[in-house]
Symmetry: C2
Subunit: 205 residues, 2 copies
């Protein structure tokens, strides 16, 4: 298809498409004449993926690029790649494994979260994120107590198990793409459902 | 306290504190001499709140300001204020009540989400967010089916009920602050726990 059709079908402005090509996030089309290039369904798919990461998941371009790099060139264990993706998703700096920084709130939370979270340690990037999220709610006078943490942990683990069960078997590349994108893209779905739940409950207040 | 102590205790750079004062997000200190002003615990609390919204919840300044405005000047029902806060949290444009735009994915999702979500309609801002989040996962070939939606809906509603139960009774201003900030600031806690859950599950893959 021509770039004009790609633009229309992906609902992304022409200048943005050209920018993604310059940035190496989207491969250029196949040149068919001095002024024309041909694009295919893979370009459309890729463009939609970039749009999902940036617009829906709200990631800055630099972090969306890191997620794409992980999906494009999967290396190492799923555990390691998921960790890299979670680094890229974080607002905060990733945990520095050489630092002696401690995460007292996340450590205290582990007991409340229960045995399913036993593998957690401070080298996990989400560990630092949990610590800073808990600090933030504490500082505004709305701490999460142990009972609430346990409730969060149980419900969230049930969700996460179902999500991991949906991972495609057999094809490691597809598995990585599912796990990495799932962490990023199912999150807005869950956030929207939680906000909808709050609004439903507030109707009666 | 002097501004230097405020800066140290809130762990926010001096230039940023001055910027928040200029923007009207933080009230100026009480002037004690031509070059000095005095700050109190309320300034510290406010500064921590701004930091939580911007750094931890990752909100751009303009949206953090809208959340602060709602908390500062609560008007109308809790339902309405929560709606305004959810508008401010969204990456996307809020739903336009005069538009005839439809949300086919969110509408289809309602049946799967179950009776607890019965009050949902397209005037709820989270409804448009759910629609675009569902479109995004569909476009990257990872749609959420009805069984998964039902699971999400049940677990998330259980979480939301407990959150709403924790709302301070008696003081409407405190209730609004809890509900509005809770939607914004417990979200990073839940997101961190979900990422931790994924990493815990990936250890064994």
């Amino acid at each position: 298809m021509l770039i004009s059709e790609l633009v229309r079908r992906a609902d992304v402005p022409l200048a943005t498409v050209k920018f993604y090509i310059r940035e190496g996030m989207l491969p250029p089309g196949r040149t068919t004449s001095a002024t024309r290039a041909d694009y295919d369904e893979l370009h459309l798919e890729r463009l939609r993926l970039i749009r999902s990461l940036t617009i829906v998941a709200g990631l800055p371009l630099s972090r969306a690029k890191r997620i794409l790099d992980i999906v494009d060139q999967p290396e190492g264990s799923l555990y390691r790649m998921l960790g890299m993706a979670i680094d890229a998703l974080a607002n905060s700096q990733p945990a520095d494994p050489d630092s002696d920084r401690r995460y007292p709130r996340a450590e205290a939370a582990l007991a409340a979260l229960g045995p399913a979270y036993n593998a957690s340690d401070e080298r996990m990037t989400a560990f630092a994120q949990l610590d800073s999220a808990l600090l933030a709610v504490e500082e505004v006078g709305m701490p999460v107590d142990a009972a609430r943490l346990r409730l969060y942990g149980d419900h969230v683990m049930a969700i996460a198990r179902t999500e991991m069960d949906g991972m495609p078997a057999g094809d490691p590349r597809a598995a990585v793409q599912y796990a990495v994108l799932g962490t990023a893209l199912y999150e807005p779905v869950l956030a929207a459902i939680r906000r909808l739940a709050h609004q439903n409950l507030a109707v009666d207040v």
